[in-house]
């Protein structure tokens, strides 16, 4: 089953991890990459521009009802949850989930619902357990799951929490995640799982 979307969740240590991930994706990467990076509610205004510098894909913060486009990276805006519905982004200011808004679980659970087995979920470094439930849901719907190796992650809690709930398809050091995604996405013909 060909994948249609990649979702990525991270918190502490995420900036560097995202730089490595984005810079490793090929320019012709053909899926949308949707990122939740936990961020303070006031600081880090230039995060998007910062990430764009190391990415071959354009990086933007989506607005409500913006269509999700292939070959682009999207960063969840601060202070909103990011969801996807019928191929477009939907934002919400529902209360924070486990202190986080944007919440990784909110995006991942929604994407698991929307895309089922066509979703790829990635959990990177982080210092809390957001994303664990969401990744488990992606996995239960038949989606593909990747988790950064907690041993080498800048912050191991988030990958570890994810692995406690999901038998991930891949557990990889940071540098190998982008190459793995490149392969997964270009190898359209390969049949994953069952």
């Amino acid at each position: 089953m060909a994948s249609e979307i990649v979702v990525v969740g991270t918190s502490t240590g995420g900036l560097k991890a995202l730089q490595t991930l984005l810079s490793g994706l090929t320019a012709d990467f053909r899926l949308p990459v949707v990122i939740v990076q936990h961020r303070g509610s006031t600081s880090e205004n230039g995060l998007c521009e910062f990430l764009a510098q190391s990415s071959r894909l354009p990086v933007t913060e989506p607005e409500d009802k913006e269509p999700v486009m292939s070959g682009r990276a999207y960063l969840a805006p601060r202070d909103y949850h990011l969801l996807i519905e019928n191929g477009s982004f939907a934002l919400s200011v529902d209360p924070a989930v486990a202190y986080a808004r944007p919440s990784i679980d909110v995006l991942f659970e929604c994407v698991a619902d929307e895309y089922g087995e066509k979703a790829i979920g990635v959990i990177l470094t982080g210092a809390n357990n957001d994303g664990a439930r969401g990744l488990a849901k992606i996995s239960s719907q038949g989606g593909v799951t990747l988790v950064e190796n907690p041993e080498t992650a800048a912050s191991h809690e988030m990958p570890r929490a994810a692995l406690a709930q999901t038998r991930a398809d891949w557990v990889l050091p940071l540098e190998e995640i982008a190459p793995c995604l490149n392969k997964l996405v270009s190898a359209v013909a390969v049949h994953y799982g069952s």
């Binding site: 607005e63 409500d64 009802k65 949850h81 969801l83 519905e85 934002l91 919400s92 200011v93």
Partner: protein, 279 residues
Amino acid sequence: MSTVQRAVDKVEDIEIGLLLEGLYRVHGFDFRDYSRASIKRRIYELLRAEKLDTVSAFQSKILHDNACLERFLLGVSVHATSMFRDPSFYLTFRKRVVPLLRTYPTVQIWIAGCSTGEEVYSLAILLEEERLYGKCRIYATDISQAVLRRARDGIFPLAAMRDYTSNYHQAGGAHEFSDYYTAQYDHVIFSSALRKNVVFSEHNLATDGSFNEFQVILCRNVMIYFNKDLQARVHNLLYDSLSMFGVFGLGNKESLKFTPRETLYEHLNEKDKLYRKVA
């Protein structure tokens, strides 16, 4: 994915559709065209709080138990708001909209989806400081009676004032913010002079029509909860309710770009989501 899992999910979606349809047919509340992704989350949170297991069980309780219906209505919408939310929006309003409003003899303003009123009091303060308040009439509407009652009272938690004061100053406010309220225990009461020209009333954007012509309409962070169809319908309603060259304001992450009315407005300021009707 297992076919069993898929079937369970399908059932959930059907149940939610039925619940919303039932709610509309029995009580007239129309959430059918709300964004499913986020309403689904909230329905599940509410049903867990009711200690129920299925949406069907929740539906039955909502349709037969009025107290449960009330809890549902309060919980299914998101009422989060704050004073001078996105200060730069208000700063731009001061710089770009206030000069336009000076040219009108009277100004009708509609704040649609005003929640507990923080936005209304913010705008009233701004207009008061620009010496425009006297000729303005603000219609502040929401679907929920409960939040409108709180908006009318103008009582907000004291703990929020630190953030609001900082927002107020970033929004171009030059006075002492505390001049506008009186603190009492852990709450503050905003000056009743600020709601002298405000009419709070119930209005449902999904089912009610236009009720006046306005020079300014703010509808911020309300339509993000609607699906595309309803959003388009409400954009039409707001457009029709706005006078020519009237000003339209959206939330920070909302956009006219993906709506049918896009070309009929010009940007006053791209970043702050302030538009002017030009066609």
